[in-house]
Amino acid sequence: MKVEMTVNGESRSADVEPRTLLVHFLRDDLGLTGTNIGCDTSSCGACTVHIDGESVKSCTVLAVQADGADVTTIEGLAGGGELHPMQEAFMECHGLQCGYCTPGMVMAATSLLSENPDVDEAGVREGLEGNLCRCTGYHNIVKAVLSVGGDGS
């Protein structure tokens, strides 16, 4: 089946099997390997991207379901060789170690802040519940998100 969508501002299309997951379409067909896969039960959030501005686990969506959508992946978050303020905050606060959860975590965090710019610590912890990190113990991730506060996205 042919799918067509806007990914990081560019129109992309490909022929895919109907069962192809969006995350595999992004990674294997478009070569956007920044979006990671950490599970097969939609539990970890490593695959989080934005679809039409909302954060979505891209392993829970078929590529064909995203037909016509506007998708942003970690590669398109800032662009132009710059870092997005959330990426900078993760670096500043040591919010990543191995970096595997990081793209998904950053995408989830930017969307959390755009929905609720005044979120407090408890709100950040609740809001990131769907994204697992095995390295950081979350302490510095939470710190990074709070440091961006309402002005990040």
Partner: protein, 788 residues
């Protein structure tokens, strides 16, 4: 320049933050074949027959190989390796990548499909029909000890080894005979699934005409893997190149030689095509080893004041179905730590390893040491109850050296602790936690009979890291040494390259190593490039595990820098026309003593060493030095952790509300990274205490292999953590210890001590891990004499 000791931002981050970092599954090559694994649904069974015809005819399938066919193909010359045969008579049944006759755990591979895509490989694996004759399964460590059925049909017992460490049996017996107070406790270390967020994965790329073969693997140990794959496959070590690209966490899970790694290399080599596999998360409970899995029995003997006179420990350790790389050695790594930070005159430890029909166990963050600190720290709380003093006081009374500073102290478990200063560390943690205030609040809630009660738990741990003096490892029958290698070179333009045999997977080695080299050579850390994790670039190394990278690998780098400076000094003396004895080196500049105007920068020396136009006689061109550093001793970091929990007495729910950690890992290169390691380690230990367990049914099926059911905590379950440190330098040249596992080693005991402390008014003194609401509620209910 002082880069060491500053919280420099990590140079690793920009690539990882933007998706530019490449993990194994991100690397695509033309013509690759995907492996799909056919796995046994039985824990113990004979393979009667395999019909692969439907799979062979499925779309995209290139071939299907059964275990028997692979044996005929003679792809390997030896079974998968166990590098740590802990005793000379240890039982070690052969473990091949694919079972041919009998399977010994659920998920053991019985056939491999090769197909054009990952989807086709997975589909075809489902079409392989295997006929099994089920055999009785040994589905728990308790069943293994009972020995009624055997996990391997050809064995007449599940017992794999008996390992004793009893330096003075008579003294030990006397300690217990004369004890005023004793503690006799049994604890269970449940099995854990390590679950790094990046699953394991492999990609083997052959060179059919050249004969070389490159393996990309999500591994912590490319160097060890190279030796082991050469030894098991018979492929020349010189033709093998192993690359660990960006690796998404390890925690011990990626410290092994796995069936998939050997299969990818040998099939790619035989077929002349790239072969790959990425571990599906729900297979990881079978395809990657698990951690812990011990029954612990610990006894303490003490005098009337509660001063310890003896500690006796017996461990029954669950090996799982096979001995993997260091399976049997894991409990032994803990053996030396069952006396903790305490002055114990008499000590005895025995360990028996047992086979079960479960996924093999092996290293998981802390590997043997969290188990040890859990047992002794839980037991110390029981001793405090027995003696009638607080948990803080029982510890003060028993600290080695009376809590004062020491160096090179011999302890009862036969080791020599490098350095320690336990008293102030405990007091700092109590102060930071406002221990008195917490106790007052606890009392208030108890007096008011509130529904949410408070528990406060302490853990004063010590751990062994910096593995290890090679001679000590030899004495323990470990199959390799414990040195680490470093090469440091100054390039013609004055930039430095350091090649390290340590292999990071999230620890920020590139940043820390550049800080060390920057200071040592007096150059900007930004001018230092760190190379690692590719055996073609870094041919010598022993990799990253056991919190060894800094205290072995970092010291090797520092020593190589010293050698570079030594040689540069000779060249500088020559160009300054002075005697080398008169040359001083500071902040990257050589100068002549007494003539501060006569100087040459190390960068200029590097250029001179490159052109070699005017070197002193007998000095070779270039500035490059290498060191293989073998540490003379282990390092023994320590610390005090305080956990505070809320316990809902009506639902049994436990919530960790505060966590205070004061760790001492000696000198710190990058305090920001140290803190990060501590945070992550703590949450992994808390997770063992509260949520995580690989649960098996009586037939040996894992009930919770996916991340849906295996409860890796999210941000919502844990609080922010208060960290601080004391600094007691180690005896190595950098004064550093190690911190990668410390958090995990301290936290499970602190949390369970807190729960037992909170429940003590009910007379509850123990709690199984994980302390689920059901378990806690039942304990309270039973204590109240209530019916369920």
């Amino acid at each position: 320049m002082n880069a060491i000791g500053t919280p420099m931002k990590r140079r690793e981050d920009p690539k990882l933050l933007t998706g530019e970092g490449k993990f194994v599954d991100d690397i695509q090559v033309a013509g690759q074949l995907w492996m799909g694994m056919v796995r046994s649904p039985f824990a113990h069974a004979k393979i009667e027959s395999i019909d692969a015809s439907a799979a062979e005819d499925a779309p995209g399938v290139h071939a299907v190989y059964t275990g028997a066919q692979l044996q005929e193909m003679e792809l390997w010359i030896a079974p998968l390796p166990c590098a740590w045969p802990v005793t000379d008579d240890m039982v070690n049944p052969p473990h091949f990548p694919v079972a041919a006759e009998e399977v010994h755990h659920v998920g053991e591979i019985v056939a491999v499909v090769l197909a054009d895509s990952r989807y086709e490989a997975a589909d075809a694996a489902e079409l392989v029909v295997v006929d099994y004759e089920p055999l009785p399964a040994v589905a728990s460590i308790e069943a293994a000890v009972a020995d009624e059925a055997t996990a391997h049909s050809e064995l007449d017992s599940n017992k794999a080894f008996h390992w004793p460490l009893i330096p003075d049996p008579e003294a030990l017996d006397a300690a217990f005979a004369n004890a005023v107070h004793t503690v006799d406790a049994r604890f269970v270390q449940q099995r854990l699934i390590p679950a790094p967020m990046e699953p394991r994965g492999v990609l083997a790329i052959p060179s059919p005409h050249g004969g070389e073969i490159t393996l990309y693997s999500a591994t912590q140990v490319p160097h060890i893997l190279k030796v082991m794959i050469a030894a098991t496959s018979g492929i020349s070590e010189a033709k093998l190149r192993i690359i660990a690209p960006a690796v998404g966490g390890g925690f011990g899970a990626k410290l092994n030689v796995n069936p998939d790694e050997l299969l990818a290399v040998t099939l790619a080599n035989r077929l002349g095509r790239p072969v790959r596999w990425t571990e599906p998360r729900s297979e990881a409970a079978f395809s990657t080893h698990q951690g812990r899995g011990q029954l612990q029995h610990i006894e303490l003997a003490a005098d009337a004041d509660g001063k310890l006179t003896g500690v006796r420990v017996h461990i029954d350790a669950d090996m799982g179905a096979y001995m993997m790389l260091i399976t049997p050695g894991v409990p032994l790594l803990g053996s030396f730590l069952y006396t903790g930070v305490y002055d114990v005159p008499a000590f005895g430890f025995t360990c028996e390893g047992h086979f079960t029909n479960l996924t093999p166990t092996d290293a998981y963050r802390g590997a043997g040491r969290p188990e040890a600190s859990y047992a002794i720290e839980r037991a110390m709380d029981l001793l405090a109850l027995e003696v009638g003093v607080g948990p803080d006081e029982i510890r003060r009374r028993n600290f080695l050296a009376g809590g004062e500073a020491f160096e090179n102290l011999d302890v009862a478990s036969t080791l020599t602790f490098d350095s320690g200063h336990y008293g102030p560390n405990l007091e700092r943690a109590l102060e930071l936690a406002d221990y008195e205030g917490l106790r007052a609040e606890q009392k208030r809630r108890r007096d008011a009979g509130e529904r949410i009660q408070m528990g406060i738990g302490l853990c004063t741990y010590v751990e062994i890291c910096g593995l290890a003096p090679s001679r000590a490892l030899g004495g323990l029958n470990y199959g390799a040494g414990g040195w680490e290698h470093a090469t440091v070179r100054l390039l013609p333009t004055g930039k430095a390259e350091v090649v390290s045999g340590s292999t990071p997977h999230g620890q920020g080695h590139e940043t820390s190593w550049s800080q060390i080299v920057g200071d040592k050579l007096g150059i900007d850390p930004a001018d230092v490039t760190v190379l690692h994790s590719d055996t073609a670039i870094s041919p010598l190394g022993l990799d990253t595990y056991g919190s060894r990278s800094l205290s072995v690998g970092g010291v090797a780098i520092a020593a190589a820098c010293d050698k570079v400076v030594e040689k540069a000094k000779l060249i500088a003396a020559h160009s300054l026309e002075a005697s080398p004895d008169d040359i001083q080196f500071e902040a990257g500049v050589f100068s002549v003593a007494g003539s501060p105007d006569q100087t040459v920068a190390i960068q200029e020396v590097a250029f001179g060493a490159f052109t070699a136009h005017d070197l002193p006689d007998g000095i070779e061109p270039n500035l490059q030095e290498q060191v293989s550093f073998d540490p003379p001793n282990f390092a023994f970091p320590f610390g005090t952790h305080v956990a505070v929990v809320d316990i809902d007495e009506e639902t049994g729910e436990v919530r960790l509300t505060d966590y205070i950690a004061v760790d001492d890992c000696g000198n710190q290169i990058n305090p920001m990274i140290v803190d990060g390691q501590v945070h992550g380690g703590i949450v992994q230990g808390v997770a063992q205490a509260l949520w995580e367990e690989a649960v098996y049914d009586d037939d040996g099926n894992c009930q919770n292999p996916s991340l849906l059911d295996y409860l890796v905590p999210s941000a919502a379950e844990v609080p922010s953590i208060v960290t601080d440190s004391t600094i007691t330098p180690s005896t190595n040249p950098l004064g550093v210890k190690g911190v990668g596992e410390a958090g995990t080693i301290g936290s499970a005991a602190a949390v369970i001590n807190a729960i037992c402390d909170g429940l003590s008014p009910h007379g509850i003194t123990d709690m199984l891990m994980p302390a689920t609401p059901q378990r806690v509620w039942r304990a309270i209910n039973d204590a109240k004499g209530g019916a369920a």
